[in-house]
Point group: C2
Amino acid sequence: MTDAAVEFSDFRVAALAGGVGGAKLVRGLDSVLQPGKLTVIVNTGDDFVHFGLQICPDLDTVCYALAGLADPMKGWGRADETWQVFTSLAELDAPTWFQLGDKDLALHLERTRLLQSGWSLSALTRGFCDRWNIRSRVLPMCDEPFRTRVRTAEGKLLDFQEYFVRERCEPKVQEFVFAHAENIQAAPEVLPALLEADLVVLCPSNPWVSIDPILHLPGIREILQEKVVVAVSPIIQGKTIKGPAAKMFAELGIPPSSLSVLDHYADFLDGFVYDALDREVFQNYDAERIILYGTDTLMKTDEDKTRLAAEVLRFGQNLISRKAP
Amino acid sequence: MTDAAVEFSDFRVAALAGGVGGAKLVRGLDSVLQPGKLTVIVNTGDDFVHFGLQICPDLDTVCYALAGLADPMKGWGRADETWQVFTSLAELDAPTWFQLGDKDLALHLERTRLLQSGWSLSALTRGFCDRWNIRSRVLPMCDEPFRTRVRTAEGKLLDFQEYFVRERCEPKVQEFVFAHAENIQAAPEVLPALLEADLVVLCPSNPWVSIDPILHLPGIREILQEKVVVAVSPIIQGKTIKGPAAKMFAELGIPPSSLSVLDHYADFLDGFVYDALDREVFQNYDAERIILYGTDTLMKTDEDKTRLAAEVLRFGQNLISRKAP
């Protein structure tokens, strides 16, 4: 931490993140950067209402990770969770396709209460983060409803959690549909956080359903084009550590590879971090505008997260000094 | 049960009930009457929305009692309850004035989900009762929102649960206000159940906030005037076993006694069951139209409930034969 304190003493970073993979790198960035210097902008496209409760899977995964409350095995949900309510729901023949732990439920309940009392999602998330002594700033990408839907090859339009959890990502994807009000805006602190950032990091999250919803909000892409932006590939050797990103690439007719991830962000990207196992993928890649950095991107332990975060930040700093006039 | 099977073989009863006290007699009636012959019409005036969930305290107390799931000590909530969510809510600084057990919460969640899917409260209550193998029919008094509010002596208007639980019945009552749509109706099966009943029993529930909301619904009072109706006093020796009924009588300037309960229902009552300890209260009572019956009305055990229920039913049968031409 002393090294990092000097190395990244004034470095401001904005990270775009989805759930499990994103939360891992976010935890690393949080431990390396100075308190308050990291802002995490989190996908809310897979939020949904279940049993009348507002559930924000990615936001919770990121917050639990930063608070040290996350289940270390699953990567989502709370450590030492209990399942009393869930068991009782099953006894009532209630739907159990979405797992609701008891501790996790308390958060959904209180969030729903606060939303219905007029709090914004941004404001109540700040309240929870304060309660949990989280040093970084966590922002939902927007305060208004934004729903990522999946149109399947059979023509069905599924809510994301229905596709992701209930249908276990089994239906073939034809396209993603973002449903929201016409005048949807990023949450109030999002654009300022991006403008203030020295570096923007796209976490190793699903490009289609975790990062694209954030990029879809007005003004974000334009800011990223002016910023130094580094993305970390969520794909290693054509596969994802977790989640359906590789399957989605394939079903959309795009080779599932880290190169496809790079291409996906090509219009605003400055640097791309891929896994060293994918060296061959980039062998003939003509890096002109986008600089490559290969390393071990698999994050199993907290040490892995800190190490990768520090590498990403150093890589970002180099890009900034290259870009400087 | 063999005696009861003969004694009450075709006897149809409709019982009006609130929470804890009412649920005790209802459990006795359910065990004495033939399956399907008892319909319980339950107060929903103290239902409320908490954390976005629809909570129906009296309905749940009655159902848990009939299902054999009730906490035998408290009289409300579930036996063998756990409090994991509630503990986690406290850790989030969320409001904890209303106790939410884990098993109980599952019911609130599933009810909220079904209501939001378009089910009526009557229909989903029938579903839960079937699930729990409840032999009697349990009806919410109405399917639409009905809110009992308490105007305090200081002029505040409190939702019933705020008054009852959060403020622990401490504010002095000035009046009760029933808030509902102008065209409020009893739930579809309520008036038919009353019309079909051989006997209507008013359980030993709070007259002001458990029974009056039911009586307030259009058509109910008119039917009761034509029916043989027996009330069981919730007040013994000027006190209530549980709850604020005696305090409410006093604050409204009415002596808190079983006689005041009788007077409260006098316009449609045929018989009144009071506790034998209150014999002196009725010493000079000139029983003309309303016939009195004194017995031990305290229900501590299931045997007490069955015994009192059988006495109430026999008393009712006598009234019916007296009234018959």
